[in-house]
Amino acid sequence: MSSDLVRNFCIIAHIDHGKSTLADRLIQRCGGVADREFRDQILDSMDIERERGITIKSNSVTLLYRAKDGNEYQLNLIDTPGHVDFSHEVRRSLMSCDGALILVDASQGVEAQTLANLYVAMEYNLTLLPVINKIDLPAADVDRIREEIDSDLGLDPFEAIPVSAKLGTGIDELLEAIVKKLPPPTGDPDAPLKALIFDAQYDSYRGVVALVRVRDGRIAAGQKIRLMHTDKEYEVEEVGLLQLKRVKTKELVAGAVGYVIANIKAIRDIAMGDTITDADRGASEPLPGYKEAKPVVFSSIYPIATDEYEDLAKALEKLSLNDPAIIYQKDSSSALGFGFRCGFLGLLHLDVVQERLEREYGLALLLSAPSVRYRITLESGEVVQVDNPSLYPDPSRIAKTEEPFIKASIMMPERYLGSIMELCRERRGEKSSFHYLAQGRVELTAELPLAEVLFDFYDRLKTLTQGYGSFDYELLDYRETKIVKVDILVNDEKVDALSQLVHEDKARVRAMHYCEKLAETIPRQQFRIAIQGAIGAKIIARTTINAFRKDVTAKCYGGDITRKRKLLEKQKEGKKRMKMVGAVEIPQAAFIAVLKSDES
């Protein structure tokens, strides 16, 4: 097929604007799948993606479309994750495209992620085609959205195609526009091979299935290839197109989007964004786009049952086969036993990993409070990166501490501006500014410490804006800060799993919150239990659980002993899941309540 008849494109949208539904409709219209095999959100293959309505892993599908000009076009739709945590995946997906549909909800309008992803698409010189979705909704206001497309996105509002992905309205017009307005791929089929790896799937039989966009040259089975960044060589076993399932082809030529199987064992053996070239006739320069995904949020994961540690280790290893963005290393806590210190791309990524571990591997887990990575300069001049409270250096040795800042972009109806500015101020926001968008909407930008966003910022935003606020961020830089390590003591014993690094202004509130949650969840014992929050030797918060004073049964003679012992044994069995801190038994539920709860 001539590359003139190929279109590589993706859909950019804010979460919930109907990206997956639109993809479903395009697939159906092109006969990519029989109706009876069809299920909603067909590109979202993980349960978790369907349930949460989010796309985590990119997917790609090749559609064959016979246009009104009589030609059959090959449309490669590359699905992109919508969430900021997965922005590295978004970038790679965009790099493999020549055009993008900018999907805007007909009632919600332009949102933070629409804008953020649009900027990225512009960086890669993609041709943009606005699409207005959900025009069937009673609240739809196509004229207002056209105005936003003009003023907020700077795109031609009259090019925008109104559709209802749900009902299928406007899909034909959209397909014609894709063919007419999005450009065919450029590239030289006779130049040395350059193919960008934009994603990979793991197949337990075939190993790694790399999703690639061929820029120049061609790739076929039997060919010897080299990965330019990792500098490893492989022999291609199979190439083909992804038409929901893999369809083997003879070769992939410049302009094509498809898959490559080359006996690669684990996803961590390849680097996303790497360039495949021919081992013998190699390209001189790799394609741009290789960027390591850096974890920014850290948490320790422990199995609730200490004997599930080995299972957790295996599950993490398997999970990281197709999510190489997770990093993990052994960690241990005297209260919770052995676990792993893990790094995540963001809070949602952390959430998704936890849920996948629990659901797909049947593990019950405890996660320590998420932390950012602090950059600490010691008096000696040495610089250390600390994300784990247990590795926090002695404060007297610290010359300077810096924490990561983000640039947050929050879009909302104007009437919420005051309370959101207040929220940003509470969260130590700096340099906030805002500008009006179309139709009474405002975009607020502020520079915030990432650490402040880790604690229920998003929930608070949603509450304060009654669901109308949207949020996106990018990492900015490190800035000097004042961090303290808050320890939680139970009867003077430190509970290491509850220690955390907190800005000094927030230390007391956070400590009090922990103390209160523990007091609610630790059962009364035969001692009074003092729960304290402390910075070093200084106590900053305190609660107490009173002792029970009477539990002994009145009678215990020959006939009572066995029954009574069995009762104690049963209680002891229940206590196996409790953690001993000094003489105090702390149930798992207390850790869960403390670690899962929000601050508010």
Partner: protein
């Protein structure tokens, strides 16, 4: 030296069923009552002579005072003839105040009863009504006074406290009234509402509200303070003696894991390792005996850790407490090492006191003996053992 064993005889008859009692009892028909003594003698015969004579014989119930004097005497004499009882064997008998009169007391004396335990429960008329007892305050007072004059080595009074709505003041009055009568020993039981009793049903139906933990804790302490200040030493959670010789030699065997043999329906036996229990219903007990079978319904052989848990659970009920060295020697378990934080905290909070290698509960410790026993770690954490 193995401790001397005790013999328990369960007399499963009552004239009325008490609404709080979950013991193996039934309303005695005349026919059953007359068969009981024969059946018990059959069980004695089937069991065969013990290795060593018993130094206590305890008639519990039920209502042993419902046994005809002749029957009681026959049982004791038979045991004596068969050389089951040591020379200094003490004989204990539980009696209801309404069964106490000069004649019955003489009968008990003839049956070598040395300790008489009177099921008074309360001297407060309202409490007696609530407890559904068959005697009045005056009958109880007369029974105590008469018993105390009748030459028993020890006269003990059983009381129940912690009734719904009972104030500390009313309990104090009840105790002081009983103390004034001068018995040698008290057993004071905090009311426990068992599921399979009339009180249990009322509780389920919301017609009976148990005293709160705070109230129970207060009443427990009042009981101990009143009796201790009147010269009765609490040697166990619910038992008080005017002098060491009045402590129940028989009941102490339960708390020290001494061996005991139980005869009669539902009675438990223990040989230091194995605990066995008789058929609980009179019907099954009788049926097994008629087939010339020892009427044991079940048994369990205790593993080391179970014995150790029982040791703590039982010993922490006694003022004597337990000996860490003895436990290390008998079980090979270093409790101190495994429970350093718990023991330190218990000493600091004065739940326990340390006396050489002994740990003894204080009054506050006795009050939470169950929780304390459950808190001890009896073996190293298997996870830690594997990883450290």
């Amino acid at each position: 030296m193995s401790p001397e064993a005790g013999l328990y005889v369960h007399v499963p008859f009552c004239s009325t069923l008490c609404p709080y009692c979950d013991f193996a009892v039934n309303l005695a028909t005349e026919a059953r009552r007359s068969r009981y003594v024969e059946l018990l003698l059959t069980e004695i015969a089937l069991r065969g002579r013990p290795d060593a004579p018993f130094d206590t014989l305890y008639f519990g119930g039920g209502t042993p005072s419902l046994l005809p004097a002749s029957g009681l005497r026959r049982i004791v004499e038979t045991l004596s003839d068969l050389e089951w009882l040591s020379a200094g064997c003490r004989v204990f008998l539980e009696a209801n105040p309404e069964d106490v009169n000069e004649a019955s007391l003489a009968g008990f004396r003839q049956a070598r009863v040395s300790t008489l335990s009177l099921g008074v429960q309360s001297l407060d008329p309202e409490s007696l009504r609530f407890l559904g007892r068959g005697h009045t305050r005056d009958e109880a007072v007369r029974a105590i006074a008469l018993s105390c004059r009748s030459g028993f080595e020890t006269v003990s009074v059983d009381l129940i406290y912690g009734l719904p709505g009972q104030t500390e003041e009313r309990l104090r009055q009840d105790l002081e009234d009983a103390v004034a009568l001068g018995p040698d020993h008290f057993s004071c039981y905090q009311l426990t509402v068992h599921e399979r009793t009339l009180f249990g049903r009322r509780k389920r139906e919301g017609r009976l509200e148990e005293a709160s933990e705070a109230a129970q804790s207060g009443l427990f302490r009042v009981t101990h303070l009143v009796l201790e200040s009147a010269g009765y030493e609490a040697y166990e959670v619910s038992n008080f003696a005017r002098a060491p010789e009045h402590r129940s030699r028989h009941n102490q065997k339960y708390w020290t894991h001494a061996p005991y043999l139980g005869l009669g329906p539902g009675a438990h036996s223990f040989d230091g390792r194995t605990r066995a229990w008789n058929e609980r219903s009179f019907f099954d007990w009788e049926r097994r005996l008629r087939r010339e079978e020892i009427p044991v319904a079940g048994s369990e052989s205790l593993r080391g850790e179970e014995l150790l848990l029982e040791t703590l659970m039982l010993r922490l009920r006694t003022r004597e407490g337990f000996d860490l060295d003895d436990i290390l020697e008998r079980f090979g378990v270093d409790l101190l090492d495994l429970n350093r934080a718990l023991i330190d905290k218990s000493l600091e909070d004065a739940l326990l006191v340390r006396d050489g290698s002994w740990l003894r509960p204080t009054l506050d410790g006795l009050a939470v003996a169950d929780g304390l026993a459950g808190a001890f770690r009896l073996s190293p954490d298997p996870w830690k053992a594997a990883h450290l």
